[in-house]
Amino acid sequence: MTEILWHGRGGQGAFTAARLLGAAYALHEGRYALAFPSFGPERRGAPIRAFTKLDARPIGDRSEIEKADFSIFLDDTLFGEQAFSQLKPNGKILLNTKRHWEDPKIVFLNAEAIALEILGLSITNTVMLGAFSAVFDGITSDDIVEVIHENMPKKLQEKNIAAALAARRAILQEK
C-alpha cells in the first residue's frame, strides 16, 4: 500500500488534491483507493491534513496515516523537522518552496510560481498533484487529464490540467 499524507492550510485545497489522487489511481480496474480529510471543524488558514491510500487490493484500514510513503506540503511554512518522523524508511517529501534543498529525501518545486502563472492564483493543489505524478509510477498524465475532467467544475478544468502537467514536466526535467 502507498500512503500519501497531504499538508496544507484550510482553503488551499489539500483535501481536493487527496481526493483527485485517489480518484485518478482508481480509474483503472483492480486498483483501490481511500481518500479522506482530517475530520472535524476547520477554519480557513489553519493547518490541515488529508490522506490518500492506494493499493492493489481493497483497503480495510480507515484510520489516519502515521507513516507515509510520500508527504506533500502545499505550503512550506508548515514544513519542519517533524516531517521526517512521519515518513516510512524510504519515504519522500514533496515540497512547494522557493528555496533550494540538498536533502535527497526532499523533492521540491516552486509550485506557487506555476500556479500564479497558469491559474492566476496561488492555489497549488493541482500543481502538487501533477508534481506527485512525476515521482510516483501509478499516475499518468492521461489519468490527470481524465480525473480533472470528471471531478472539477468545467470552467476550472483546462487551466488546472495545464498547471498540473507543467509541474509534472518540471519535475521530470529535474530528474
Binding site: R19, G22, Y32, S63
Partner: protein, 391 residues
C-alpha cells in the same frame, strides 16, 4: 454501471436518488449534512423528482416523512446523534403506524461531553423503537442498502421503517471507489410503493388511531411479527439484487474465515475491513482467528451468530457503545443468542472507538490475544486497571 470515487454520504445519496423517494424531509447535522445537501441539489437540478421539505427540527423531519408515507408516498429522512434522539418520540410512531420510511443515520457520539465524531451509541440506544437497523461496512454497501432498504421496508409482510447506519466520518466522509448502478437497473429492482393503509379519497380510512388495553398487545404483536419477517425478505431482496447488480450480500451477518475459527470477533459497521486484514495477519501466524460482522441489529441474527461460533473457544464483541450501568448492547444481544442456543463460551466485551477514538490493527490483535485468557466480562479499550488511559 458507472465507476465513481465517492464518499459514503455521496454514495448513499446516489442510492436514494435511484430509489426515487417522492418526499424528502430532513434537517442537516454533522456528519450527515452532505446527504441532505446532495439530495437537495438533485431535486434542484431535476435529477430527482421529489418534494424537498425544509423542516425546523428532526422531530418535524420524521413527522413530515410520516405524513408523506400516510398518503402513500415513498419518504426519506436522515439524521445523526442528538438529531436521532430529538426525533425519538416519532420513531415509535413511525414503527407503530407501520410507515415504511427509510432513514439514514450517520453514527455519531452523543453528548455530554459534546463530540461530533463517530460511535454507535446513538442508534444502539434506539434498538427498541421498532425500526429495522442495518450497519454498512463501506460506501458501496451504503449505496446498495439504500435500494434494498425500500425493498424490505415496503414489502407488504414487513411494512416497517428502516434505519441505515453509516459510521460517522470514517465511512460518511471517506472517498472510495463505488459502482453506481443505472436507473434502468434500479427500476427493475425496486417495485413502486403500494400501501395497504393510506389516506385515499376512494378508500377512506382511519389512520394512526388509539388502541386501548384490549387491542394494544395485538397490534404490538403484529409489529413484532412484521419486523421478524424482514429476515426472509432481506434474503429475497439480496437474491434479486445479485441477479440485477451482480453484487452478493450475506443476510443478517457476514462471516470471515469462521469455519475452523477458535477465537471469534464480533463487529458492527466499517471496522470490519480492518478486522479482516488483522485476521489475515493472525492466520499467517497460524492463529485460528475468525470474524462475524453483524449487518442487521434488528431483526437480530441470533441463530446465525450461534451457529457461527458453535465450535469456537471464546468470543469477543467489539462495539462503539456502552449501556451505562451494564455493558455494550451488542454484547448483551450476542450473549442472549448464545444462551438460547445452549452455548456456554467465555465472551468478552471490548468497548472502543467512543467519541471517534481510532481503533488500530494492533488494538484488534490485542483483543484476540486477550481472548485467550478466558476472561468473561467488559473491558474499556485503552483504560488499564491502574487507571491509566492511552490517548
Amino acid at each position: 454501471m458507472a465507476r465513481k470515487f465517492l464518499s459514503g454520504n455521496e454514495a448513499f445519496a446516489e442510492g436514494i436518488r435511484l430509489s426515487k423517494p417522492q418526499v424528502i424531509s430532513a434537517y442537516p447535522i454533522t456528519p450527515q449534512t452532505i446527504v441532505v445537501e446532495k439530495l437537495s441539489e438533485m431535486v434542484e437540478n431535476g435529477s430527482l423528482k421529489a418534494e424537498f421539505i425544509h423542516v425546523e427540527s428532526e422531530h418535524s423531519a420524521l413527522s413530515c416523512a410520516m405524513g408523506a408515507s400516510a398518503v402513500g408516498a415513498r419518504a426519506f429522512t436522515a439524521t445523526s446523534s442528538q438529531g436521532l434522539l430529538y426525533m425519538a418520540e416519532c420513531l415509535t410512531y413511525a414503527a407503530g403506524g407501520r410507515f415504511p420510511i427509510v432513514m439514514m443515520n450517520a453514527n455519531r457520539s452523543t453528548a455530554l461531553p459534546w463530540n461530533i465524531y463517530g460511535d454507535q451509541r446513538d442508534s444502539l440506544s434506539q434498538l427498541d423503537c421498532g425500526w429495522i437497523q442495518v450497519y454498512a461496512k463501506d460506501a458501496q454497501e451504503a449505496l446498495d442498502l439504500a435500494l434494498m432498504s425500500y425493498y424490505v421496508a415496503e414489502h407488504r409482510e414487513v411494512s416497517t421503517p428502516f434505519m441505515v447506519n453509516l459510521d460517522g466520518f470514517v465511512l460518511t466522509h471517506t472517498y472510495e471507489t463505488v459502482d453506481v448502478p443505472t436507473e434502468e437497473q434500479a427500476n427493475r429492482f425496486l417495485p413502486a410503493f403500494e400501501s395497504d393503509h393510506k389516506l385515499d379519497l376512494d378508500h377512506p380510512c382511519n389512520l394512526a388511531f388509539s388502541a386501548g388495553p384490549e387491542h394494544n398487545s395485538a397490534f404490538k404483536y403484529k409489529e413484532h411479527v412484521g419486523i421478524l419477517k424482514a429476515k426472509g425478505v432481506v434474503a429475497q431482496a439480496e437474491e434479486k439484487f445479485a441477479e440485477i447488480f451482480g453484487r452478493e450480500y450475506t443476510g443478517l451477518t457476514e462471516n470471515y474465515r469462521i469455519k475452523d475459527a477458535e477465537y471469534v470477533l464480533v463487529t458492527l459497521g466499517s471496522i470490519f475491513g480492518l478486522a479482516k486484514e488483522t485476521v489475515d495477519r493472525l492466520r499467517e501466524r497460524g492463529q485460528k482467528a475468525g470474524l462475524i460482522r453483524i449487518r442487521y441489529m434488528r431483526p437480530f441474527p441470533a441463530e446465525e451468530i450461534a451457529e457461527a461460533v458453535r465450535n469456537a473457544k471464546a468470543v469477543a464483541v467489539l462495539e462503539k457503545d456502552i449501556s451505562f450501568g451494564y455493558e455494550g448492547t451488542v454484547y448483551t444481544n450476542v450473549n442472549s443468542a448464545l444462551q438460547k442456543a445452549g452455548i456456554s463460551l467465555p465472551t468478552v466485551n471490548f468497548i472502543g472507538g467512543l467519541g471517534g477514538k481510532n481503533i488500530s490493527g494492533e488494538d484488534i490483535e490485542e483483543i484476540f490475544e486477550e481472548l485467550k485468557e478466558g476472561y468473561r466480562g467488559v473491558k474499556f479499550m485503552g483504560i488499564g486497571g491502574d487507571g491509566q488511559w492511552r490517548r
